[in-house]
Amino acid sequence: MSKIIANLLTQSALLFIAYALLALLGAVKFLGNDPLSSALPYHQVAPWSAVLLRLAIMSGLLASGLKMFADSVPSDPLENAESASQSARILNYTAQGWTVFVIVAFLFGALGLLDGRYGMELPVFLSIIQAILMALFVSVIAINARPLNHSLAVWLMGMFISTLCTFTTVISPSDPLQAQTVATVAAGVNLNVAQMIAAAAILFWLLGHDQSAQDETAVYLYAGTLAVTGALVTLAPLNLLSANSAFLSVLALIAAAGAAVIFIRWITISVKQAAGWVTLAAFLLLCGLSILGGFSAVGSISRWTLGTRLSDLQVTLISLAVMTLVLAMNEAYENKTRTNRAQLPFWLISGGILIAGFGLAGAGLVQTYLERIVGVGYLETQTYIQPLYAVWTLGLVALLLGAVGYTLSQVFRRT
């Protein structure tokens, strides 16, 4: 099983490089005249990079679950009983199927064959294949995980919801409003609820909080409050368009604050065990879900910021938080208590995310003020915020270099 985990983590790292490259190509297009506007237009680059990031995260989450599963028992749990060896075969085929699926999805993006559905860009048949493969991974772990420790239980819940959401994306209503609702709910719950729950499990596992009853309380409380916050963040774009959202707004702020407080309370107990990646992921989760997410769930705020770069920033931060946890899991693959070995890539990725986040946040704030409050036209506003786009691009250059350096360091370490 260790080979499967290593392969999935390598796939995740390679997909992350491809994402970083495409995100950079997309950002360059915001800076002015783009020589690739016809050959590689933005409406091809953006969905492709989004799909690659989601696949990088999912490959990493699956690998992380398998790693937690493998570590939960003394010997390889799939090498003993006859039923277990049957599970091992299923797991092997599923892992191979996942690799083929990832390659096909990559090629679909390269050929511009992705669907024009925001948040659900994979064609329906690929979504079905993805959901089946995820269901197989989750089923094998759920059936064989005895005893079931709490980190793994929380991870399983997250991945179960994520699998359901992936199945939901196959629904393609003919009514545009229905279609947008399905996309928002499926993609939003997948990222903001399911992946947050799975991320919470990985985070506490990496911190070493998976032994005592107190640790158990922490992971359940944290994952629970993240789930509530994530659900309310998901509803923000639909909620403000349809109904009075005051109650849900207050609930979102309370849940977001609760998630932040609970996490800070527990992480400070043994922060010495947390590697740099884990700290970075925790910081990004705090900023992305608790702070930005909490505020974006408040209707009176999000009605002004919806569709600006601030919306993008929120999604990007929490996606990168989960991705950072995957990178942490990759680092901790052999020994979870060791600190960062790839220092330069760590600082390049950390700095890249922070610089890009700063640029995107600045662009979003200026865009909101000029375009939504003052009433300056869309294109004029975009011209004014080009310097901030340059900062964003600079951050993505660092992110790309860091991703390449990180992957190379992992390859050298294992060979």
Binding site: F30, H43, G116, V185, E216, L238, G377, Y378
Partner: protein
């Protein structure tokens, strides 16, 4: 046990809230065939990859929630045929080579989208869509018809100045009622201008608004109009533009 219960309840409650709040959105409605066909064009060409609709989608190009009421069908049809002619030095929209039928269907979809409930509630303030560059609207007539009277020729020249560089007034001012771009709609400006300032004729009001825009700021609009038309337009061009605008009566 309590902590597991808390976690389980949190997860179930989260999903329950999502289902309850969004349940109203799953009510089906019958779409006119041209709107359904237009939605297919929208999806097949990946419009959402660059544009937002009801605030959701790519952020590379303007939100299209209210574009139909802001620009109107003629402008949008012209834009889709040759988008490069509109904002030559800025972000370019690829030419998708849509057929006339596909373009009509797409416009029907955008018209439909503007009239839906989310468009009524959002955005809190209409997002202005504008940009610099020449505007080559095919509807602008040729201005040197030999048989035209001097007055008609002046109106035609004024209309051209309104729509073309260097003034391109149409970028910020619509001639359609209630259509707000960057500045106020100039629908019925000949009538409105005569009533705006006591003792000032419509011609004087319009001339002042062109040469010294800050003197007459319409309530609810920013003081954002260019203030260099005295340099960029000749006296004759300004006169022709005024003659054209004075034809815009309610």
């Amino acid at each position: 046990m309590v902590k597991r219960l808390f976690f389980a309840i949190s997860v179930v409650a989260s999903l329950f809230i999502v289902v309850i709040v969004t349940s109203g959105w799953f009510l089906s409605q019958d779409l006119p065939p041209e709107v359904a066909a237009g939605y297919n064009v929208w999806q097949e060409n990946g419009c959402i990859g660059c544009h937002t609709l009801y605030g959701q989608g790519g952020a590379f190009a303007p939100d299209l929630t209210h574009i139909y009421e802001q620009r109107g069908a003629d402008y949008l049809r012209e834009f889709m045929v040759n988008p490069n002619a509109f904002h030559p030095d800025q972000r370019l929209m690829p030419r998708f080579g849509l057929t006339v039928n596909e373009t009509d269907n797409l416009l029907a979809f955008l018209d439909w989208a503007t009239k839906q409930e989310p468009a009524v509630r959002w955005p809190p303030r209409l997002i202005a869509v504008s940009g610099s560059g020449s505007l080559t609207v095919a509807a602008v007539p040729e201005i040197t018809a030999p048989e035209a009277s001097p007055q008609d020729a002046a109106i035609a020249r004024g209309r051209a100045i309104y729509s073309r560089a260097p003034a391109v007034c149409s970028t910020c001012h619509s001639l359609e009622p209630e259509v707000r771009l960057v500045g106020p709609s100039l629908y019925g400006i000949a009538t409105t201008a005569a009533e705006r300032v006591s003792g000032q004729s419509a011609e004087d009001y319009i001339r002042t608004s062109i040469l010294n825009p800050s003197d007459h700021i319409v309530e609810g609009f920013p003081d954002a109009m260019q203030k260099n038309f005295a340099e960029t337009l000749s006296a004759d061009e300004i006169n022709d533009l005024i003659v054209f605008l004075l034809t815009q009566e309610r």
